[in-house]
């Protein structure tokens, strides 16, 4: 058992649950890894504070994911709203080298987010970029999915593309693919910076 713990928090309507299902689909169906997705259920999924979690078992020999919810410290935490920043503390993210990452949206988090600077983090104005580049904030999800694909490397790019095809309506497929590529590019830039910073 080699659990990869992912938690995404924001407000209802941002596509948090869709993003978590895309991660689960790409890992579980395309890569045939064990995966468990859980989500906020009830009124908060339609507005208010919402969350989703995915546990991926990177060990192909495992038979079953034991505890279905993501366990702290997380491997990856995605924070998309002001209210959600409250749960970010040093100890909730893994500290070992190369693992443990916080991704946050600097266009939806308007307040001060001091905690982020204390850990490996990638802050990007995701919704703003989605709106300016692709005309709608919904493409923020594909940007995030692109970032996720590159920084975690849990599933291949082919698996990610297959997943996007499964999840988005065909009329928006092209734009989603562009947003996905854009996200990938941003993540690659981040990883390069990180490498340079280390050397």
């Amino acid at each position: 058992m080699n659990r990869y713990e992912i938690r995404i928090v924001g407000y209802g309507g941002q596509g948090i649950i869709t993003l978590s299902k895309m991660i689960a689909y790409a890992s579980g169906i395309c890569e045939e890894l064990l995966v468990t997705q859980t989500e906020a259920y009830g009124a908060q999924a339609r507005g208010g504070r919402s969350w989703a979690e995915v546990v991926v078992d990177l060990d192909r020999e495992s038979k079953q994911i034991d505890y279905p919810k993501a366990l702290k410290p997380y491997d990856l935490l995605i924070i998309l709203s002001d209210a959600a920043t409250k749960e970010v503390k040093k100890e909730v993210i893994k500290k070992e080298e190369n693992i443990g990452l916080l991704i946050w949206d600097s266009s939806t988090i308007l307040g001060k987010f001091r905690a982020a600077s204390k850990m490996k983090n990638l802050g990007l104005p995701i919704q703003k970029m989605a709106f300016e580049k692709f005309g709608d904030i919904v493409y923020g999800n594909a940007i995030l999915f692109g970032i996720f694909t590159i920084v975690t490397k849990i599933f291949s790019e082919e698996s990610a593309i297959e997943t996007i095809k499964q999840f988005v309506p065909s009329s928006t497929l092209e734009k989603n693919m562009e947003a996905f590529k854009f996200g990938k590019q941003k993540a690659e830039e981040f990883l390069t910076q990180l490498k340079e910073g280390m050397s």
């Binding site: 689960a24 468990t36 009830g42 994911i65 034991d66 279905p68």
Partner: protein, 392 residues
Amino acid sequence: MNNGNGKRFLKPGKYLMMGNVAMAEGALSSGLKFFGGYPITPSTEVIEHLAKRLPEVGGCCMQMEDELASINAVMGASLVGAKAMTATSGPGLSLMTETISMAANIEIPFVFCDVQRCGPGTGFVTVPHHNDVGLTRFAGNGEFEVIAFAPMSCQELFDLTITAFNYAETYRCPIFILSDAYLGHIHEVVNIPPKEEILKRVIDRTIPEDTKGAKFTYEDITTHKLMIPKPYIVGTEFCPPLIIHLPHNQDGVLMPEENSLRFMKIMIDKIRDNIDKISLTEEYKMDDAEIIIISYGLPVRASYRAVDLARKKGIKVGIFRLITVWPFPKDKVKKVVAGAKAVIVPEMNYTGVIAEQVERVTDLNIPVIKVPKVATLHHPDDILKAIEEVAK
């Protein structure tokens, strides 16, 4: 009418499925033809999914005006030979108990899915609470036995629903599936086997070839052994002349008072005598275990992790999992707990319904420790703490 048999089975392969949907697909694979229900959080996805899928297989999904009508419709459908089920949550179950009691008495097979939510009363509708475990055991007036399953993953929701339908056909009684608000909404990969494999597992509703010699009785006249005939079907030749919800004989004729005890005995012993066949259990790291965890449903998954962590610390602990919660396998549990240092029972309720059953068969000098949790899942650390406490 579309017989839709081609659509009964999903294409074999892996699917990312919600728990409630996995259960509904398990029912369709078993040959479900009728669903009667009234939507209630957190079970609503079951009726939503079946409203779409049942017409595709030539079946019928009916949203009734309330829970009472729902369970009565299910009973009616089953009487005329359709595999039938309903899904609800605690408040719905409490309304349906009157009919469940009657169905048990007339021996009508159906599957009852209870996606439990926090109670009592209306409660918190979107959070889990295994607080109907006791109610399912005593779901209604009068004496009868039921069978209840406690799955813990989406794959099991699919597989155990098939087993539940088979048990309904075999033991002619209501079968419960104890899900909860959390399990019903988890998404996991479900492996759907080829239809040939599923069909091998499914017990169909058929009538005996020779209906003239058919028996509705339990007693084999020559050997005097208890046997369970197939469920009868109203409108066919395989049906007693009278169907009555009072103690009755093989022809459905009311039994005199002095024979009522015999009737009760048959109704209850058909389950109790077969407990070894009915009861499904699983063991994890039990070989050398001194501390025994007994659990069912989702807390088992937190227990796996707690046991692995405790084992790393050199504590000899194992899990005895109840896949069927009712009938409670008292002989198996008695054997398992004999000589243990302590027994830990993590349950998603405060009273410890199963812990009390465990206490019943455990020596007084062996502590039975409840680890209650309500409205949320056990964290593995909750269970680990209990293990470390008794290992001191």
